[in-house]
Amino acid sequence: MNAHDDDRLKQLLKQAVSPVETDAEPARDLWPAVLKRLDADTAGGARTRSRWVWFDVALLAGLAVLGVSFPAMIPLLLYYL
């Protein structure tokens, strides 16, 4: 394989996979889609945060119930923390 072979292969590749025209542009305005994506991300983030808040409260409530019901477990729990 030499440089000449490489050049022929490159030419064949250019024939098979044509270069894209330089002034190609999107068929539609993409800004609304970008805004929608940003909004979805913001809403998704808020949902994730609210899930975590709910989860934290439930965990704390569970621990409180456990502490009141079985006070002897508190030292054991603290040991493992």
């Binding site: 590749l13 996979v17 270069p19 894209v20 002034d23 190609a24």
Partner: protein, 190 residues
């Protein structure tokens, strides 16, 4: 877009717009989007070679750009940074797709080509070459399509891929070697 943001982009270097964008200003972001979307679209189209996918990936790219705005260096130009992010997005897309279903007659026909195919090269050979090229690993394919097919300078390709110029040349070399082997297996000697 506010008039203020439009006015900011009249200054060379767009420093004020860059700073506003870094702070999360949507008007400044829209100004940058309007200024660069065509170039980003063209770049992504060169990599993925699918107009519909390129539009979706432009949206993904600008979403990532907005998420990463705090890391943007306002002393540098926006275009190379955007090109690098868009290349990463396009590469992710290519990696997620099966190469065999990427290239069919229809998808090749809708792509806006810069020049017509040489009638001296049989359509079947062109198709086989295109399919063999689509089977290459995505990283090699991107380097080869940008450097060989689109004839972009190696330095620009290296910056977009976040690798050295030598690494680009190596990827192109490996891409051509693998392509040649694949074609030879099919009885085509380029």
């Amino acid at each position: 877009m506010s008039d203020g943001s439009k006015a900011l982009l009249q200054f060379p270097g767009h420093d004020a717009a860059y700073l506003l964008f870094r702070q999360g200003d949507l008007d400044a972001f829209e100004s940058l989007f309007r200024l660069h979307q065509r170039a980003v679209y063209g770049w992504i189209l060169r990599v993925v070679r699918n107009p519909a996918a390129a539009e979706e990936l432009v949206v993904e790219t600008f979403w990532r750009i907005y998420q990463a705005r705090a890391r943007f260096d306002a002393d540098r130009d926006f275009a190379p940074w955007a090109r690098r992010i868009s290349t990463r997005v396009a590469l992710d897309w290519l990696r997620a797709r099966r190469p065999e279903i990427e290239l069919d007659d229809e998808s090749l026909a809708v792509l806006p080509a810069a020049r017509a195919a040489d009638p001296g090269v049989a359509a079947e050979i062109r198709m086989k070459t295109a399919r063999a090229f689509a089977r290459l690993p995505a990283t090699l394919r991107v380097a080869a399509v940008l450097a060989v097919v689109e004839e972009r300078p190696h330095k620009e390709v290296a910056e977009a891929l976040g690798i050295s110029v030598a690494a680009v040349k190596l990827r192109v070399f490996r891409a051509l070697r693998l392509l040649r082997k694949d074609l030879e297996r099919q009885g085509i000697r380029p």
